[in-house]
């Protein structure tokens, strides 16, 4: 049984805005699943629907085998979500926040206290226990937010852009936290992000969505051919014959495709890091005059572009 199974999900808001368009995904139990997409791709809408906060327009969603729309009461105890907006109550202390959450999920006091102590230690919140919650930094607030959400030991934890607006140090700490939750608690984690690197590093499965529809769902290794679809850029000297050069380079075995813009040639290769040296050597051997050569790492936009072109949707 999948932790989450979504088929043909669509959501049209009252305003007429179509946020999700025939989306289908599957999340396996115990994995970290990243939903990757640019702003406005429908990530938050999807999380809101999966967490029973919004009703879909059409489609079927099962969480741990339960229908999200028809069995809200059975689904809610199984999940927790750390939203983009910090949801801790500033007028309560750290412990009061955690206990409030535990009572929302109907834990008895003994269990709640035991879990609270364990989570405070696990998330390194001990030193903040005595401080006022309002005095916490953004990163600590978010950590408390996650610790609170873990009070019910949810089977699925949703994290909506957990690292947005964080500096690199806090992001790394957050990544460790997410991995820890998966390893120590066996929780299935569903997170959204628009950082490619983050999705690549953390996840067992990555799903890329755009305009409310999934483009691809795969392991980071398999997606790497998209994300590492590296290109070598060569700037020719003005005196070189561009057409001859273009023909010569596209005939090379390891070059998959080229694009030419006046004196600049972009060559798509299988493995840019390796092919760069070979190509460089060949250029020297053939005495081709060029002013620069280098590897261009594709941006997230390039990956999206290549995906959208492959799938023939969007753009």
């Amino acid at each position: 049984m999948d932790a989450i199974s979504v088929s043909h999900l669509s959501k049209v808001y009252k305003s007429g805005k179509k946020a999700l368009d025939d989306l289908s995904i599957k999340v396996q139990k115990g994995e970290i699943f990243s939903l990757l997409g640019p702003n406005g791709a429908g990530k938050s809408t999807l999380i809101n629907i999966l967490t029973t906060f919004l009703q879909p327009t059409s489609g079927k969603i099962l969480i741990m085998g339960r229908d999200v729309c028809k069995e809200q009461r059975a689904v809610r105890p199984l999940i927790a979500c750390v939203a983009q907006k910090v949801s801790i109550d500033n007028h309560l202390t750290l412990k009061e926040n955690m206990l409030f959450q535990s009572r929302l999920y109907k834990l008895d006091d003994a269990t709640a206290n035991k879990r609270m102590d364990a989570l405070i230690t696990a998330f390194g919140l001990k030193e903040y226990e005595k401080q006022r919650v309002t005095a916490y930094s953004g990163g600590i607030k978010r950590r408390l937010d996650i610790a609170m959400s873990m009070m019910s030991y949810p089977q699925i934890l949703f994290l909506d852009e957990p690292t947005v607006g964080m500096d690199i140090e806090s992001r790394k700490a957050m990544w460790d936290t997410v991995k820890k939750i998966k390893d120590d608690f066996g929780t299935t984690i569903f997170l959204t992000t628009h950082y490619l690197e983050e999705a690549d590093m953390l996840s067992d499965t990555v799903c890329i969505i755009q305009d409310g529809h999934e483009l691809v769902q795969d392991t980071p290794e398999n997606l790497r051919q998209h994300t590492h679809l590296n290109t070598i850029r060569i700037d020719l000297d003005g005196s070189e014959n561009q057409q001859d050069f273009g023909k010569w380079i596209s005939d090379l075995q390891f070059v998959r495709a080229i694009r030419q813009e006046q004196n600049t040639v972009y060559a798509n290769t299988q493995n840019a890091a390796q092919d760069f040296h070979i190509l460089n050597q060949l250029l020297v051997d053939k005495k081709i005059r060029y002013s620069s050569i280098g590897i261009i790492t594709p941006s997230l936009d390039d990956v999206f572009l290549s995906l959208t072109q492959n799938k023939g949707r969007g753009v």
Binding site: K14, T51, T52, F53, L54, Q55, R73, R76, P77, I79, A80, C81, A83, Q84, K85, V86, S87, I88, D89, H91, L92, E96, F100, Q101, R103, L104, Y105, K106, D145
Partner: protein, 247 residues
């Protein structure tokens, strides 16, 4: 249990922000002091403060419970509304906790207003049991008004429209009632809207308990019945609005 947990959370906020209780108290307080001072000279039959007190108590309820739903807007700005909505907490518990929270802050006001009236030599003729009956009537009124307020806060897009509507409705409801003039002294054309206004009956029953010679149990039962029906209706409405707030 769930209701208590939610109530505990909001009452902690309330006591850290007592100004929210004071703010809605100011206007009824001014009315109480002003009216009883201005009309003191005309006291032909009994204490005018005692006469106006039920209306002022109701005004306090309308102001503080009427505005109570506004808390939803700030909750929605942060993430805590969402946190509660996706939790297994029953929607009816959420509404009930809201009503109890509104009742606590309203009853603090009521006690202050009663205390001041006492200093202005108002005595409750029906005694302690009458005061308990008054508390019951006022609680039902709070429950009705605060549930309506909660439902409205879910339907109206922002604080401005919410405040505008609450302000537009509250004072007319107060004036078109027997708060300031006894029902049988009202001009006949004016009586129809006054008698339709459920708060007229609450004020009449409260007035009977404050300064009446005898308790008319039929009248009391009638008022309680009306309030009870209104409470159930507004509670159902609020729970329904909360469940529908996910589209």
């Amino acid at each position: 249990m769930q209701t208590f947990n939610l109530f505990w959370r909001s009452i902690k906020w309330r006591f850290q922000n007592p100004v929210t209780i004071i703010m809605t108290l100011i206007q009824p307080l001014i009315w109480l002091l002003l009216f009883s001072t201005i009309f003191r000279g005309n006291e032909t039959e009994g204490n005018y403060t005692a006469f106006i007190l039920p209306g002022i108590l109701l005004m306090g309820v309308l102001f503080s419970s009427g505005i109570s739903g506004i808390a939803n807007y700030s909750l929605k700005t942060g993430g805590s509304y969402y946190r509660i909505m996706i939790s297994p907490a029953k929607r009816s518990s959420i509404i009930l906790a809201h009503i109890i929270d509104a009742a606590v802050s309203t009853f603090i006001q009521i006690m202050i207003l009663m205390g001041i009236s006492f200093l202005m030599s108002v005595r409750i003729t029906s005694g302690v049991s009458g005061m308990l009956l008054m508390a019951m009537l006022l609680f039902l009124t709070v429950a009705f008004v605060s549930a309506i307020s909660y439902a409205l806060s879910l339907k109206l897009p922002d604080e401005n429209s919410f405040i505008a509507l609450v302000n537009t409705v509250t004072l007319p409801l107060f004036f078109v009632s027997s708060a300031l003039i006894p029902y049988d002294q009202l001009p006949s054309g004016f009586r129809i809207p006054v008698i339709i206004n459920p708060f007229t009956h609450v004020i009449n029953s409260l007035r009977m308990l404050v300064s009446g010679d005898l308790i008319d149990w039929m009248q009391l039962l009638f008022t309680t019945g009306i309030l009870f029906i209104l409470c159930i209706a507004s509670f159902v409405l609020a729970v329904h609005a909360l469940k529908k707030d996910i589209q």
